[in-house]
């Protein structure tokens, strides 16, 4: 197990994790070739890798590195289908940041 886990974030937290690996759960708004627009409480541009097969409108969990321009270079993606509760996912992000000491983020 790694000593530090990848934090789950939403759009608002991108600033704090530039250069780090993060996990984002969001909805795919648009797909444009190698790029996708993901809504995770705000829009995030994701640069996809070869294996990513996303569908617009579906939920997706992305693990990737945050670029200086606040886009994400995707290392792994997971299609979550249509019945994702985004409110719940966002709550998880907020709560895990409120109680940082319980999560080994940094």
């Amino acid at each position: 197990m790694e000593a530090i886990a990848n934090p789950r974030i939403t759009c608002a937290y991108l600033n704090s994790y530039v250069g780090k690996n993060v996990i984002v759960v969001g909805k795919v708004i648009q797909l444009r070739g190698d790029e996708a627009l993901i809504d995770a409480d705000g829009n995030i541009t994701a640069h996809l890798n070869r294996e990513a097969h996303l569908s617009a409108g579906n939920g997706v969990q992305i693990i990737g590195k945050v670029n200086p321009d606040l886009s994400i270079k995707v290392l792994s993606s997971l299609d979550l289908g249509t019945s994702v509760d985004y409110n719940l996912a966002n709550s998880v992000v907020e709560i895990s940041h409120q109680h940082r000491s319980l999560f080994s983020y940094d």
């Binding site: 509760d85 409110n87 719940l88 709550s91 998880v92 709560i95 409120q98 109680h99």
Partner: protein, 612 residues
Amino acid sequence: MEHITQGALEAIFTDPDRAVNQFPVPVMQCLHIKFLDNKGPAAAGSERYRIVLSDVRNYVQCMLATQANHVMHDGQLQRGSIVRIRQYQAQALKGKNVMIILDLEVITSLGTPDKLGEPKGMEAATTERQNTTIGGAGFYGAKSEPVQESKSQVQRQIASRTGGGGGGGHGGHSASTIYPVEAISPYGNKWTIKVRVTSKSDIRTWHKNTGDGKLFSVNLLDETGEIRATAFNEQVDQFYDLLQEGQVYYISTPCKVQLAKKQFSNLPNDYEMMFERDTVIEKAEDQSSVPQVRFNFCNIQELQDVEKDATVDIIGVLKGVGDVEEITSKTTQKPYNKRELTVVDDTGYSVRVTVWGKTATDFDANAESIIAFKGMRVSDFGGRSLSLLSSGTMAIDPDIPEAHKLKGWYESSGRNNNSYATHNSLSSMGSAAGRKDEIKTVGQVKTENLGMETVDYFTVQATILNIKQKDFAYPACLSENCNKKVTDMGDGTWRCEKCDTTHERAQYRYIMSIDISDHTGHIWLSCFDEQAKMIMGKTADELMEAEQRDDGSFAAAFDAANCRKLVFRCRAKMDTYGEQTRVRYQVMSVAPIDFKSEGHKLAELIKQMSQM
């Protein structure tokens, strides 16, 4: 500056009609806040705030009604805040204009800027106000001199307390100024209120060793609030016939004001009144300027935050009507009529409401009509349910804005909604619907000794640790509805004693023991056929065959079922097994976890804990 309704104050005090038209919701800046310390006898309760509001052109002294105190408690209202005045009363008190703020909303997005403009104090337009007063003599007619004198005393007294408590009504009837019910307190003021009797009780008598007595009580209402008043002994004779339900009266001191005995009243006022011999009660000429009923609605979703035995008012759409039932009270042997209704509202929640007596038997509202209930007791039966108090009232399709709003909501989305959330599992985070449904951890099941004294039902979310592989099923009778164990006759047939028949084969039914665990501990439950089938994914017959085949599929089946996390709804009860009496836990039903709703409940719980 652009948000503030400049000129509103001038309009309010010189031309109220124009004020209502032009400035329906005045926006002002709060320049100053002062907390009035009540150095009065005993009573806690009335913390009053005096604030100065400015509309840039003028400023005025105001009293914040206690019902609006929450903006102080929340810390929202500060010096400099810009506020919307949703409800107010403007009065002239001996030359000074004051306002009582009944409802105000702080526009937090505008922050707390420094004093805007150079507002000047409002000049009181005394002449106008007094023209509308009815002359003292004319009004009180036959009343004796002393009363009139005390009235003018009242006026002077109240006037000398400008800014404190607010003294007048809208157009000042009679020589004394009318107090808002909101402002009644035990602090020995002299006051007159103009109120409508919303309910009058019957005369009740009591007999004790110390003596006999009689009393009756009324609920009194004006635009600012409600208060209960009681008359004892001689005052019963004095006032019982005078006070009629639905009529408006002027009631003046002397009258005792004391802390309310909440158990006898369903009103939210901290105080209640007791009539004295010299209390003055007169029927008002103008019956219309006092509201008929005042509701303080709670929406159904919020009910879960309301404590058991509290009193609330609700308004909702009637979704279901039960039949009238007659039940006899076990304690008093008296028969009662009751009827259960289901009411929903636009928070997406539904609640069971019980009405009694005549309200139940005469109930004839149509389904989908809007019903407003005043004076409902909250109980935690089935999570949350409501019961209409004998002092409560019910209004069908009332002509109030909330009713129209609900009607609109119901027409558009409410009607089609078939699944309303209920508070059925309220004691902690519930997931399954249904009555017998308290969520417990394994630890709680043990420490609370569930099942030891009575049969207890609980729901637990846990992971299967182990499934007993021996004796997991028994051969059962094949006959319909008969699940009795059949005996192996040795020649391949099975005999059932109960049905007195023999079958060629037996149907195996599960009688499975499983060990489940959560973060607080583990316990063994027993499952019957239906639940075990769901857990194992196979019928008992199939599993028996797999055992006999002995090709590994038997063990595999158990492995697959193991370590699954499920929601178990269980019954705990004492069982005598030979000589031992132990609590046995039986599984009533098993369900997979609904992660979404569980996730939300956890988030809620975390939020609540963070706030503690």
